[in-house]
């Protein structure tokens, strides 16, 4: 991995972290009610976003993400201000028009399908986009991401069963972001295994586990898994062990918790390796923080949704695609 990519990953991780911190601050300043997001997953989610084949339609990758995927969106090029808009529920929120929770993305031009408010259902939906891609051929794949606890829902098994049907194998990368908790419930109290991806084994689905707090290891693991899925048109199941740095959500306080911080580790490593100075790193943080502050001011000036639009799009009103 060359240094420019390493620095780009660092900057994106910082941008994602700062964005999440801003969102949490907004729950306290009355700029939003509820926060849920991905601080602690940047080391995995940024590489994921960078490796996506971004575009519209089956030739590009479909993303079935979860509510901790902000870093993936930013790495794909999303504007942070749009996440602030969703947080404040203003009409300009491009993902849901102020209708959905923050970090619940939906972008048609990038194949980011609506992040679902219910846990794990994306694993049952992802087989559908992958099915279209299997038939289309090419290199487009489907990526589905969710948490460890949620894999207890039957939908995780559904993704394994349907993606490994003999002769009908699906080009799908099935990710489990294992932060070892579902809200307050520890994984080790509910799961017989520590590597949930190993559930793919009896299905003959290749699987791996990666340190999701290490962006370089994550980049390599994702690249390898994706290469396999793109070329072989077969499923791959990848567990990333990640952190949940601000706890579950604003409902559980949103304060910082004592877990590994992949971003700080990575930054320290880059500095130790001489690829970044302490000042340069600080500048990256500052710049992002400043930019976001300005963004927030912009967003504060934007209107809330007009109540008279309440019925809009109940049925599709756009052009039929």
């Amino acid at each position: 991995m060359d240094t420019s990519l390493e620095l780009r990953i660092h900057a994106l991780m910082v941008g994602a972290r700062v964005l999440e911190e801003q969102l949490i601050a907004m729950t306290r300043s009355g700029d939003g009610y509820f926060w849920i997001g991905g601080p602690g997953e940047e080391a995995f989610n940024v590489p994921l976003g960078l490796l996506v084949h971004k575009g519209e339609g089956p030739a590009f990758d479909y993303l079935h993400l979860h509510y901790r995927s902000s870093a993936t969106l930013l790495a794909m090029g999303a504007a942070p201000i749009d996440t602030l808009r969703q947080m404040r529920s203003v009409a300009t929120d491009p993902y849901s028009g102020g209708r959905n929770f923050v970090n619940h993305y939906a972008r048609h031009d990038w194949n980011v399908v609506p992040v679902t408010p219910t846990i794990e259902v994306q694993y049952a939906q992802a087989i559908g986009t992958a099915h279209v891609q299997r038939r289309a051929g090419g290199e487009g794949i489907t990526i589905v991401n969710g948490g460890d606890a949620g894999a207890a829902e039957g939908d995780f098994a559904t993704s394994l069963v349907w993606s490994s049907r003999p002769g009908q194998e699906l080009p799908i990368l099935i990710v489990v972001a294992n932060n070892h908790y579902g809200i307050s419930t520890e994984q080790r109290t509910q799961w017989a295994m520590s590597d949930i991806a190993s559930r793919a084994e009896p299905f003959g689905i290749r699987h791996a586990r990666v340190d999701g707090c290490d962006p370089r290891a994550s980049y390599a693991a994702i690249a390898e898994a994706m290469a396999y899925v793109r070329a072989e048109r077969r499923p791959f199941c990848l567990q990333a062990d990640v952190s949940r740095l601000h706890g579950h959500s604003s409902s559980t306080g949103g304060g910082l918790v004592a877990e590994r911080d992949g971003l700080l580790e990575y930054e320290a490593a880059l500095i130790a390796e001489g690829k970044l100075t302490g000042e340069q790193a600080a500048a990256v943080w500052d710049e992002r923080r400043r930019a976001l502050k300005a963004d927030l001011e912009t967003v504060r000036g934007e209107p809330f949704p007009d109540p008279s639009t309440i019925h809009a799009h109940t049925f599709y009103e756009g052009e039929v695609r």
Partner: protein, 370 residues
């Protein structure tokens, strides 16, 4: 004449060839069976799924998200209750993304009683499904309507439930599908899969034509004056027969097969009630929080002043299942005698007396008609 199952098959064939249908799938939908009701025999895009309704609904959603046009079958509507969340999510994809996504998908699932389906295999689902916003809901009662509603459902950019009544899938209609061979035997020989080995079999499709039944338009089956009767599905032919028998007694009914439950044809309904001043709703779902109660409330909202007798719901008994024994099934979902009794009772109910509170309190519980 085609049966309703054949009509659906022809519609799906038309959809594959002309409307961009990419996948017709579900449990036993592909070869060799072609559906437990034969609705999907011989179709080019039909395939068998794992036995997993959540996977089926999820797969359909994903196909539609990726620009495909799926018709997913839930083998019996009774198996859909583990996937209501996924159906709700499909229904809110457009609204929730503020219009960024839309899901042109059809979920087809046979509904209702009348085939000795016993306790659990006889559900009506319209009360649950009409309560899921973002979906259209259609239910045919004739082969031609099945054909036309399926074409309309496929063309619709929204998710649509297509709900053929189990009990009518093998019945023939009175109107031909455009392009259907005149001789039913010929149709049978050309498109029904043979018994025995089917591995070499291919259907010989007739050239069927475009015929859409617009979603949202009710069909007035009979014109009459004693009351407006709203029904759909299995009970549409039952109500027709009841009307026929009651005409011999001098009654007549303005009889509607709604066909489309979401959206509703309120114009037609209100116009009729404004003429007959009486309303009967006939369906077979259980009676508590029943879609027919929505119809009654909708009429009250729009035309309460027109009602000269209490509007009546004739529906299924509020019991946890349909008994296997015929004596039990007949006692829990409306049958012809119940419908006749309800229609007659409404027709003869005295109009409310001037100035008083003299409305007849009509017994509307099925049990009381027995």
């Amino acid at each position: 004449m085609a049966t309703m199952a054949q009509a659906i098959r022809l519609a799906l064939h038309y959809g594959e060839e002309n409307l961009g249908v990419t996948d017709v799938f579900g449990e036993d939908v592909g070869p060799p069976l072609g559906g437990v009701f034969t609705c999907t025999q011989g179709l080019r895009t039909a395939w068998n799924s794992p036995l997993d309704e959540r996977g089926i609904v999820g797969m359909a959603t994903g196909i539609a998200l990726a620009g495909g046009r799926p018709v997913a079958e839930i083998q019996f509507c009774d198996y859909m209750f583990n996937a209501i969340d996924l159906l709700k999510l499909a229904g809110n994809a457009s609204w929730g993304s503020n219009g960024a996504y839309h899901l042109p998908m059809v979920v087809m699932t046979p509904v209702g009683s009348g085939i000795h389906g016993s306790m659990y295999h006889s559900h009506s689902v319209e009360s649950v499904l009409t309560h899921i916003p973002g979906w259209k809901v259609v239910m045919p009662s004739t082969p031609l309507d099945a054909y036309g509603l399926m074409l309309a459902a496929i063309e619709d950019p929204n998710p649509v439930f297509f709900l053929p009544p189990k009990a009518l899938l093998r019945t023939k209609g009175e109107e031909p599908i455009p392009g259907e061979p005149e001789d039913a035997r010929e149709l049978h020989n050309r498109i029904d899969a043979p018994l025995g080995d089917r591995s070499q079999w291919k259907p010989d499709w007739p050239e069927v034509g475009r015929h859409l039944v617009p979603i949202g338009k009710a069909k007035r089956m009979r014109e009459g004056r004693n009351a407006t009767v709203l029904t759909y599905g299995r009970l549409a032919p039952v109500c027709l027969e009841a009307d026929k028998q009651l005409r011999a007694e001098g009654f007549s009914f303005d009889l509607f097969d709604l066909r489309s439950l979401v959206p509703l044809d309120w114009d037609a309904i209100v116009a009729s009630v404004s003429r007959t001043h009486r309303l009967l709703v006939v369906n077979e779902d259980t009676e508590v929080t029943n879609f027919g109660e929505h119809l009654i409330r909708g009429v009250i909202d729009r035309a309460f002043g027109e009602l000269e007798a209490a509007p009546v719901l004739c529906a299924g008994a509020d019991v946890p299942g349909i008994g296997m024994a015929w004596s039990l099934e007949a006692a829990s979902v409306p049958q012809l005698p119940n419908v006749i009794a309800a229609m007659r009772a409404l027709a003869v109910a005295p109009a409310r007396e001037a100035g008083g509170r003299g409305f007849l309190e009509l017994p509307t519980r099925l049990a009381r008609y027995r």
